[in-house]
């Protein structure tokens, strides 16, 4: 059965992006058209969600057309329970990003919106591709708009940041391409399902796993290939930071779950200690680093790295759980936790960067020391900021808790110390986030810039309010998200734990 819904989700924002660009100097029209397109794209997710059956691992809403017959590469797209939440997240986050830029972006407005819309389509493409070459196409294409967003609308050191961002991610991706080509030469097929099913020796798996891991670890980013992220965030405009943190980082986690682990499960079993070590370093080491940041965006960037550590940790726990307990019970919980953490972190980090954007628009500084007592002048904003900070600290009742809770429960099954080190986020996460809140939000009015701050306007209230509702809703009732993923996670657990030898 062929459906065009997914294609619409991919190409509507891309084509719409070019239309917006064509509006050029007609700024108001560009804004409204961009908003319309992003809202329609989000609305298209409604039938996608409503028609989706989470109890099965099968790809749904498939479309399969010939693309490059010479390589047997096909335009083959579809969603399963792992891709769907990320697609909805992408469509969801783009709307606030568009609204948030309403008055704060004044340079090349049409192009700015166009870049975000095109990026949205490409990112949805990444999550829906069922063909590895198509995946690679979207994966690399997506870098271009982000490169431009940081490079054109970014801060003073934007050139250094863009090049670092581009080289880092590109270097990782090259290894992935090599792995894909190697496997294609064996199977003559680029379909991801075929790659997941192909037999591979341990030696081959090891190399393939490492090649994929190079690409995805950079994207997540994992320690020690994370240093591009703080620079990119600091220089990126608010919207760029939001999309970067909320969605782009998730592609690393998604790739790990879609490619590295199912294609090379035995290598995963062999190298899981390595991945777990890096993940725990991300949680603990980066937690300490976040503590001493003076720049709000850097602090949130480091916090992102620490939180993404839970994604990579949850993804590879399955092997150690089987190794420690002899039973796969709990392996799925780690994967569930990784997925929930990705969605939740998308919402929370997006919201945190939007909050920084709100303050930056008023004071034009990202330095913590430039603020103090913001709540005196911006009580509503202060309430939002405290809520998102609590979510960032993993408070139960917010989405930030759900993923971390599941991963810690699963980690305990693998090893007491994994759980103990991961659980330090309760202390470290709260320490760096609440210290930020104390210095920026609470206290007496810090200086005359703060004294002149005006509370959020209706537009900002809408953006932060929608995110706040989502963060709380997902924290209070995460069952629908888990139900959406159930079939796919079960299938993935089986694939990860099966052996190809």
């Amino acid at each position: 059965m062929q459906t065009t819904l997914l294609s619409l989700l991919i190409w509507l924002p891309i084509v719409g992006g070019f239309l917006v660009m064509a509006l050029g100097a007609r700024v108001a029209a560009a804004r409204w058209l961009a908003l319309l397109i992003s809202v329609v794209t989000l609305a298209l997710c409604v039938p996608l969600y409503a028609g989706f059956d989470g109890s099965t691992a099968a790809f749904q809403f498939q479309q399969n057309l010939p693309w490059i017959p010479a390589f047997n590469a096909r335009y083959s797209i579809g969603v399963d329970g792992i891709a769907l939440p990320l697609i909805i997240l992408t469509a969801f986050i783009t709307v606030p990003v568009i609204i948030a830029a309403w008055t704060s972006v004044t340079k090349r407005v049409a192009q700015y919106y166009a870049a975000f819309l095109i990026m949205e389509g490409l990112m949805i493409g990444v999550f829906s591709a069922m063909d590895a070459l198509l995946f690679y196409f979207f994966w690399e294409a997506m870098l271009i708009p982000m490169f431009l967003i940081i490079g054109i609308w970014g801060g003073p050191r934007r050139i250094y940041a863009t090049i670092k961002f581009f080289l880092y991610t590109f270097l990782g991706s090259v290894f992935m391409l090599v792995a894909l080509v190697y496997m294609y030469l064996q199977t003559q097929d680029y379909s991801i399902a075929a790659l997941q099913a192909m037999p591979l020796t341990l030696e081959e798996q090891r190399w393939i796993f490492l090649a994929f891991f190079a690409a995805f670890a950079v994207k997540v980013p994992m320690w020690p290939v994370h240093t591009w992220l703080p620079d990119a965030h600091v220089e990126a405009p608010t919207g760029g930071s939001v999309v970067l943190a909320a969605i782009m980082l998730k592609m690393g986690g998604y790739g790990l779950l879609r490619f590295a682990l199912p294609i090379a499960p035995d290598a995963g079993r062999e190298l899981d200690g390595f991945v777990i070590t890096l993940s725990l370093i991300a949680v603990v080491y980066i937690g300490f680093v976040a503590l001493v940041q003076q720049d709000m965006k850097k602090l949130i960037a480091y916090s992102s790295i620490a939180h993404m550590g839970f994604v990579t940790l949850g993804a590879v726990l399955a092997y150690d759980i089987v190794g420690a307990t002899g039973s796969p019970a709990g392996a799925g919980m780690g994967l569930d936790g990784a997925m929930v953490q990705m969605i939740s972190h998308g919402l929370i980090s997006g919201a945190m960067f939007l909050c920084v954007g709100v303050m930056y628009d008023r004071v034009h500084s990202r330095e913590i020391s430039a603020y103090g007592g913001v709540i005196n002048k911006m009580p509503i904003f202060g309430a939002f900021m405290v809520l998102f900070s609590m979510a960032n600290s993993g408070l139960p009742g917010t989405s930030g808790f759900v993923g971390e809770f599941l991963v810690v429960l699963a980690a305990f099954k693998a090893n007491f110390w994994y759980a103990a080190l991961a659980a330090t986020t309760l202390i470290l996460g709260a320490a760096y986030t609440l210290w930020l809140v104390k210095r920026v939000i609470f206290g007496k009015v810090g200086n005359h810039h703060v004294a002149e701050m005006k509370d959020v306007d209706g537009r900002e209230f809408l953006v932060l309010g929608v995110l706040a509702v989502s963060v709380v809703l997902l924290g209070v009732w995460p069952a629908p998200l888990l139900d959406m993923m159930r079939g796919s996670i079960e299938h993935l657990t089986q694939m990860i734990l099966a052996t190809k030898l």
Partner: protein, 688 residues
């Protein structure tokens, strides 16, 4: 007749709904409507709790244990939100909603002129919701939700006056120290899921025997009993929330919050959550003597050593705060000697008399225009008769005067400690006995200094500069003399203290009644009878202390008369007499004694150095480590050497290679000849 699940749901949700209305729409509906909504919400919740109490205790409704909704299902484990309502729960529900209601009413007077009026009501209602979720839970997930929820509201309320540097330091400290406890708590929960595959209490209790046979290897080769690990982890959570040494450091600082929340959160309810939790987990703790001894020693240390600190405090609220720490230690001792019901019983009586003492202190603070230094009070009994009498009742209950509520609960704990044979019981017995003298001494030191003796409140000009240097715009002017305006409206003679308005003193009276009576009424059933059967499990063969307590508690009258022959009574009396002698009879003596005991005072004034250690060692080391990892790890090694280093290396190589491309034909020809020669040479030589 079984309990109605909708009724239970409303008990929890009404305060939440009221909180949302007051919090989100407070600025539209106005000050008094916001107060009214929350009071109605909590009031209705209190009435419904009493209804449920009647159904459970008198009509013997079966224990309610059911899910409300499924939070999520992961890997076959259903995690749900649900209620467990048994006698232990209904007791907590009534205590929480009743004290909360009193505090709500009191707040009308205490916060009358505060600009954050609606926000305050919203917070305390939200707190009531979170606390109810905590006590009504039937699973560890919701327990943790309520646990952190009350922590959140505590954070918001300690920092309620967010322009005060001390307040926003104290609230962050409170949250972080609690998070240290929660770190252990979360691991304990994870361990339970590991062994039982469920978050339900009932599953965990059913699996106790199986868990008891299991071991966990944590350090090297030493295998720990799984139950010990679980119980100690859970108890670390309780140490944070119930402020046990060494995680007690946040509670004295929490006094930065407005007084009503000190009464509600930091005395009566939230800080007792740890005690409640351990009592609820009694089937688990009974399986590990190691864990019980750990609990016992921590509790005994807190009970005695925090009491000492109460003696040297001059801030009225801090005296009560250290008293709370010490009393929480008593409750923990009860848990350690397997007298869970005595611990919970003391929790209940303490909730009433300590909330009373705090609210009375708040009433005094109003009269003193927010000067909290007891050295500048004195003789207030003439001016504030209701506050005086109710404070006296609270103090008498606190020191365990026979027939008062506190007597029955505290004496039961001392009895239990005497009859316990567990490791550490001897130390605990000494600590709780010595603590009786200490408690009586600091309580009546404060009582005499505030209500009797010379009137010293005129000695110091207003505003008080010493303790409230940090007290800026939110100081006395905004929420200061709120209470006066109601009955005078005239600030001309504001220096003359007088009784607080009815919204302040009525809650005092309401709390004074159970402070006197509830102990005598309930002790026979709760400690001597079968009230907690089914809620609390004790292995009486191994831990027989409670049997002895029950014998005494079954006859409250006899127990009261008998007390005059026992050591605790005489110790308490001695404490009162010494306080009287030192602070009323010979007020010049304390200074002389202090001069003699300088080294001891030095230690006490530094509160044994916990704060110093945390701020100068732990906090500083964390920031130092962060800076080190950032500057050396990220900036120098990864970015400096690896990333920019490889970029520079590429650039450097390119620079060299570039030189080869000179653009001169002879140069290329030269290199071609050299290359040809080398190739040929390799062919000729290498071929052999």
């Amino acid at each position: 007749m079984s309990l109605n699940p909708n009724l239970l749901l409303w008990i929890a949700l009404l305060p939440l709904v009221a909180s949302v209305i007051a919090g989100l729409f407070g600025r539209f509906i106005g000050r008094q409507p916001a107060a009214l909504v929350t009071i109605l919400g909590v009031g209705a919740s209190c009435v419904l709790s009493l209804v449920v109490f009647k159904q459970v205790v008198f009509d013997h409704a079966p224990v309610f244990n059911d899910a409300v909704y499924t939070w999520l299902v992961s890997d076959g484990i259903r995690m749900s939100i649900g209620f467990l309502v048994d006698p232990l729960t209904v007791m907590m529900m009534v205590v929480v909603t009743f004290v909360s209601l009193c505090v709500h009413v009191y707040t009308i007077g205490y916060m009358a002129d505060d600009p954050g009026y609606q926000r305050f009501f919203s917070y305390i209602s939200l707190f009531t919701f979170a606390m109810l979720m905590l006590v009504m839970s039937n699973n560890f997930l919701q327990l943790f939700f309520g646990w952190e929820g009350v922590g959140l509201v505590s954070y918001l309320l300690i920092g309620f006056w967010y322009t005060r540097p001390t307040a926003i330091f104290a609230n962050m400290k409170a949250f972080l120290v609690n998070r240290v406890g929660d770190f252990g708590f979360l691991l304990g929960i994870a361990a339970i899921v590991y062994f039982t595959g469920s978050l339900q209490y009932s599953d965990a209790f059913a699996a106790v025997d199986r868990i008891a046979a299991e071991h966990i290897t944590i350090f090297g080769g030493h295998a720990w009993s799984a139950l010990t690990v679980i119980c100690i982890c859970l108890f670390i959570g309780a140490m944070g929330k119930s402020a046990q040494v060494p995680l007690h450091v946040w509670l004295p600082d929490s006094m930065e919050g407005p007084t009503p929340i000190s009464a509600l959160i930091h005395a009566a309810t939230m800080v007792t959550a740890g005690i409640f939790m351990v009592a609820r987990m009694s089937p688990l703790f009974e399986g590990s003597d190691t864990a019980l001894s750990f609990v016992l020693v921590i509790g005994a240390t807190t009970a005695l050593f925090m009491g000492f600190l109460g003696i040297i405090q001059n801030d009225i609220k801090r005296v009560v705060a250290y008293s709370t720490l010490s009393q929480l230690g008593y409750m923990t001792v009860a848990l350690g000697v397997s007298a869970y019901s005595a611990g919970v019983f003391h929790l209940m009586t303490h909730a009433f008399f300590k909330a009373l003492l705090f609210l009375a202190a708040g009433s005094v603070i109003i009269a003193m225009h927010h000067n909290q230094d007891i050295r500048y009070m004195g003789g207030l009994r003439k001016y504030m008769p209701v506050t005086w009498i109710t404070s006296l009742i609270g103090s008498l209950a606190l020191i365990g005067t026979p027939f008062f509520s506190g007597f029955y609960s505290k004496d039961s704990i001392i009895l239990a400690a005497e009859h316990s044979h567990i490791w550490g019981a001897g130390y605990a017995q000494f600590a709780v006995l010595a603590g009786v003298f200490v408690t009586a001494f600091y309580s009546f030191r404060m009582y005499f200094l505030v209500f009797h003796g010379k009137e010293r409140f005129r000695d110091k000009p207003f505003p008080a500069e010493q303790d409230h240097a940090a007290d800026d715009s939110h100081g006395h002017d905004e929420h200061g003399h709120e209470a006066h305006k109601g009955d005078h409206g005239d600030h001309g003679h504001a220096h003359e203290p007088h009784e607080s308005p009815a919204v302040v003193w009525v809650p005092l009276v309401l709390l004074a009644i159970p402070s006197i009576l509830i102990g005598g009424i309930a002790v026979a059933s709760m400690l001597g009878g079968s009230y907690f059967d089914g809620s609390i499990f004790v292995n009486l063969e191994k831990h027989p202390a409670m049997e002895h307590v029950a014998e005494h508690a079954a006859h409250p009258g006899t127990m009261g008369w008998h007390a005059f022959l026992t050591l605790p009574f005489w110790l308490a009396l001695a404490g009162v007499v010494v306080a009287w002698f030192l602070y009323l009879k010979r007020p010049e003596l304390p200074a002389a004694i202090a001069a003699r005991l300088k080294p001891l005072l030095w230690v006490l004034e530094r509160k044994y150095g916990f704060d110093w250690f945390n701020e100068n060692v732990i906090a500083r080391a964390s920031r130092g480590l962060g800076a080190l990892l950032w500057n050396v790890g990220d900036k120098a090694i990864i970015d400096g050497a690896a990333v920019n280093g490889s970029a520079l290396t590429v650039g450097w190589l390119a620079g060299i290679v570039r030189r080869v491309q000179t653009g001169f034909l002879y140069s290329y020809a030269f290199w071609m000849v050299i290359g040809l020669a080398l190739l040929l040479g390799w062919f000729l030589v290498g071929r052999h």
